[in-house]
């Protein structure tokens, strides 16, 4: 059947569905009964007129100014939905001189809340100003994404779209309800991820040996990720509650709320880690199982060991780019957290030094999430290769590939174990060095240590005594104990000190540090250079264990990926160094974050690909494709920024930074945008290299093939990976924001109707992150295919004559 015969109906369905949903969204109205027979009506309004002035009788509020407009705004709003549609109301938008102030413009559409009695608006009652209406824009963006994958991917694109919708249904219809019903989150997440992988493999490849091997590999990778995530969460004493929603401390609200009293917060955190990794793990298993199947078809004589080796070879290539996927997705999702150590807070200076940030639960959990997921996908490769080798290769004799024996000098054979050993020793040394380090701030005369974050080991402690709780909740008295600790680094290295440690059952567990003798903790100390004055318990010391988890990731990467693994680690190290040492300082100096991320992304992609695959036309064309995708995503988020009125305050940390920073150059709105773009980089690299590689292989097989056919070949491969790649991104972000999704689905903690909550900046930013990233990913594929097919022509135009391989 011709492609257009499926494409056109699919496009019509998407457009019609979009229009119908939009009509519904625009008719939004929600009523809540109030006192004395009054009703509170939430609906949509459009600002038709703005008067600046001092008219609403709130004198203190008018002493501040925002955007050069002193005082506030008197808004005339036309009601667009609900039973008062067409009427005008007036509202005061008062500026209080804080980051939460909003300056409205004529034409802005916002959610408003009115008080009504009988059939009329109570005019004396103030009109509540809610969120900007962001849902329509996001809906059209989602439609644009589906339209793009249908146009670019054809029937495969439709399948990819259906697979994405199925994933969404799985998450919303099965995963979240099971969590809310109190089932063990870790087991549920493994089960759901497994079922999802079974369905995906069956949908794509049918009930074949390849699918079974892929499923088993996925399950193996998921199990690895799950064990690592659960064990790390236990060791690092995660509470699962270090989460915020805008400037709301969501963790605390959830902990206090009755609706979430049966939630296993740590379990949900671990479940998020598993779900976040499942897309990437499935992707790598799919690639390895498919490759072994293809090798078997090409050479039916190949045996089990040959198949396994072929699978491992493909897996090593896959690993190189896949390792970036989760890491960049998570870096992009929390770019403010990474910026925090560089931000100045007036007299407090760098109030969030790296030592403090990295030991906080939020940062530690994200590192574990990225590492556990990536280790899961690394382990999925040999597991898949093993099962695929056994299942696919067993019916024939053992014929190994001729090139399977390494023929280099003996010393090179030992490079992998040597580098593993060097890594293991390096981690031990790194552990010792970091224990001795400290984040110190002195006064101007450098005589007094104003604050120093140091690690200390608990040597001894008193038995705890009951003390009154500071909080007003009745879960029993707090327990206080005095610890004798030995400071491991900084100005007071090897000194001992006493520190009070209060465990209060009435406060959020995130703020309690429960320790035993021998445990390591993070203290905040101050004093003179000679004498420690006071030590305050700050947090668990988590960075030591994190260092070992990173070490495990590197060693496994090298063990499984061999030379390709070493190259991947080098590429990843260089990429992270570029981000930390070039990109973030540029942003801090006031360079446009979006532009900086776009330029640096190209640089990172090019450098990484050169290291992983060498310098060739494949690298060049993939870089062009990645840049195309990244620039598209960049333009898209900049356009979205105009429509969605973001402030950049998508987390409590960002709110804190916006409110108190003295770093003048920071534009948090654009930093949020930059993070959205950066999240795409890993998947874009993966997709681009897959397309560019296939074009090169096809060209090598038939050098006379015209460019148009090369493009088609590249597009074929690209659309194959499109579905799984977009799934990878979706699962990564869902895993990262699992608690937020559960809060939306299962509680009434966030005020307003579901649509209004979807319109909040935090939720809208996450949806934009997903859609802009996916659209950038979709466009990476054709751009890479075109660049790869017309590489020589492009090089000639640029003045680089001659052919590259």
């Amino acid at each position: 059947m011709k492609e257009w015969k499926v494409q056109i109906p699919a496009l019509v369905i998407v457009i019609l569905a979009c229009i119908i949903v939009d009509i519904n969204l625009k008719g939004y109205s929600r009523e809540v009964k109030g006192q004395a027979g009054n009703t509170y009506v939430s609906c949509i309004g459009e600002i038709t007129q703005i008067d600046a002035g001092r008219a609403t009788g709130q004198p203190t509020a008018w002493t501040w100014s925002v955007g050069g407009q002193e005082g506030g705004q008197i808004l005339t709003i036309e009601i667009l939905s609900g039973r008062f549609k067409g009427q005008n109301v007036f509202a005061a938008n008062t500026f209080i001189g804080e980051y939460s102030d909003r300056v409205f413009r004529v034409g802005d559409k916002i959610y408003i809340t009115l008080e009504a009695k009988d059939d009329s608006i109570v005019r004396t009652s103030p009109v509540g100003l809610g969120e900007y209406v962001r849902t329509s824009f996001l809906l059209y963006l989602a439609a644009a994404f589906l339209i793009l994958i249908i146009i670019i991917g054809g029937s495969k694109g439709i399948k990819a779209g259906l697979s994405l919708i199925a994933s969404g249904v799985f998450i919303a219809g099965l995963l979240i309800p099971m969590f809310l019903r109190g089932y063990n989150p870790v087991l549920v997440s493994i089960l759901i991820a497994t079922v999802n992988s079974v369905l995906t493999f069956m949908l794509v490849g049918g009930m074949t040996r390849k699918s079974v091997a892929g499923i088993l590999g996925t399950v193996g990778g998921l199990a690895t990720a799950a064990i690592l995530a659960a064990f790390s969460s236990y060791l690092l004493k995660f509470s699962g509650l270090d989460i915020s929603f805008g400037f709301l401390n969501l963790g605390k609200r959830l902990w206090l709320a009755g609706e979430s009293s049966n939630w296993d917060f740590r379990g949900i955190l671990v479940a998020g880690m598993i779900i976040g990794a499942s897309g990437a793990i499935m992707d790598s298993s799919m690639a390895v199982a498919s490759a072994i199947d293809e090798v078997k078809k090409a050479n039916p004589q190949i045996g089990i060991r040959g198949c396994i080796k072929a699978g491992l070879n493909v897996g090593k290539d896959e690993m190189g780019t896949m390792a970036n996927t989760l890491i960049f997705a998570y870096i992009g999702a929390d770019i403010t957290l990474i910026l925090m150590p560089m931000i100045q807070f007036g007299e407090a200076g760098q109030a969030f030094p790296f030592t403090r940030v990295v030991n906080q639960e939020a940062a530690s959990a994200e590192i574990v999430q990225a590492m556990a997921g990536t280790i899961g996908l690394i382990m999925a490769i040999p597991i898949t290769a093993l099962f695929a080798g056994i299942l696919i290769g067993k019916s024939h004799g053992e014929i190994d590939e001729a090139d399977s024996k390494f023929t280099g000098k003996p010393i090179f054979r030992w490079i992998v174990p040597i580098i593993m050993l060097v890594t293991a020793i390096g981690i031990q040394v790194g552990y010792s060095v970091t224990r001795r380090s400290a984040a110190t701030q002195t006064d101007r005369a450098e005589e007094r240590i104003v604050s120093e974050y140091v690690r200390a080991k608990v040597i001894d402690r008193t038995s705890s005594i009951d003390v009154p709780s500071d909080s007003g909740y009745a879960k029993g008295p707090a327990k206080s104990e005095i610890l004798r600790v030995k400071i491991k680094g900084g100005n007071y290295r090897n000194d001992q000190t006493l520190v009070q440690n209060i465990i209060d059952p009435n406060r959020i567990p995130l703020n309690n540090v429960e320790v035993n003798n021998g445990d390591e903790v993070l203290l905040k100390v101050d004093g003179t250079k000679q004498s420690l004055y006071e030590a305050i318990m700050h947090n668990y010391s988590r960075d030591g264990i994190l260092l070992y988890i990173i070490g495990l990731f590197i060693i496994l990467m090298i063990l499984v990926g061999r030379f390709q693994g070493i190259r991947t680690i080098i590429a990843l190290t260089i990429s992270l160094t570029i981000i930390l040492e070039i990109l973030l300082p540029l942003i801090m100096k006031g360079y446009d974050p979006v532009l900086s991320v776009i330029v640096i992304s190209g640089f990172v992609a090019f450098t990484s690909l050169i290291i992983i695959t060498g310098f060739n036309r494949k690298t060049g064309s993939a870089t062009i494709g990645i840049m195309g995708g990244v620039i598209t995503a960049g333009l898209l988020v900049l356009f979205a920024d105009q429509r969605l009125h973001f402030t950049g305050i998508s987390s409590s940390r960002a709110a804190l930074a916006v409110q108190f920073t003295t770093s003048q150059n920071l534009d948090f709105r654009k930093i949020l945008m930059a993070g959205i773009i950066m999240g795409l980089l890993g998947t874009a690299m993966d997709a681009a290299i897959a397309v560019a590689s296939s074009v090169r292989e096809v060209r090598n097989a038939n050098p006379d093939l015209p460019a148009a056919k090369l493009v088609r070949a590249g597009m074929n491969v690209g659309t194959d990976v499109l579905g799984t790649m977009a799934n990878t991104l979706i699962f990564a972000y869902v895993g990262l924001r699992l608690m937020l999704i559960m809060t939306l689905a299962g509680t009434n903690i966030l005020a307003g109707g579901k649509l209004e909550i979807l319109s909040t900046e935090t939720v809208a930013a996450e949806i934009l992150r997903l859609l802009a990233g996916s659209i950038g990913l979709v466009l990476t594929i054709p751009i890479t295919a075109f660049a790869a097919a017309w590489w020589d022509e492009i090089m000639s135009v640029l003045g680089f004559g001659g052919k590259t391989t």
Binding site: M420, I465, I482, T497, I555
Partner: protein, 323 residues
Amino acid sequence: MKIRSITELVILAAFLISALVVATGFNTGDSIESELSKSVRGYVQEGNRLFNAGRVNYNKASIQYWKAIKLDPDNAEAHYKLASIYYAYVWNHEALEALSEVKRVEPSYKGLYLLLGKVHDKMANAEEAFAAFQKAVEQQPQNSEAHYYLGTMYQQQSMSYLNKDEDEKAVDVLNMSINEYVKAIEANSDDTAVVKSHLQLGRIYRNNQPDIAAQKLRKALDINPQAMEVISELRNIYRIQAENYESQREFLKAAEKYREMININPGDERNADIYVKIGNIYRSNELYDRAAKVFEKAAELDPMNFEAFTALKELELLKDTEE
């Protein structure tokens, strides 16, 4: 299996084991007992040396006392000093716990009840604090601090009676309070407690007998001329007296009180406004030369004092007109 593969697996296993060792805190290294090399006396003496060197060394001192207690859980001195440090750190519950150990080991330990009272006082346990200070006075009759704190307890009780309109009881208890402050001054064992006792007496007499109050506060300043609370209280008394004279139109007497106010601390920048007040009194009494001098002093102390500046200008104009 090849040697290389075995080596790789061994490296991985060794790495995992070292990670587990770190993760589970097995590498405690420092044995609590092995580090206790000194005798109990040695630790206590070293602790006392550091403790007496001041607050900045409390941390080091506390470790010495802790070690002493590890070796000898019945060492009352170590427990007491540790309690003193906890009190300074505002770890009040822990201080109480340490003091209960002192009580267990040596109920008559010198200073026990005084510190116990202070801790309870800080925790706003009025009854327990009162009982402890009473015992402290019995235990150390010549201790100014004990008398001072007991005096403050009586003073609080007096306020409480006043609030309940039990005026007679309030007066009785206030007299007991005065008695304790006087004893604190007579015992003269601790300058701080003596100064504070004078201050409290000054406060008690402030409203009804301001001259006696001023006298008490002057005595406190003789001991510690920098006591800010005393200075502030004394200035306040003179200010009220001066304002009273002003309201009775006895301006020159008022000026004298303002002068006394200035003399407490002549370099104080706030004196500029007082000089202006004196200047205004002299000006209204047509003592223009004296007025000009004090306005000049006001301007010297505070060059931005607008009132002094305009008054001087006016006086110059007046002088020119007269000439």
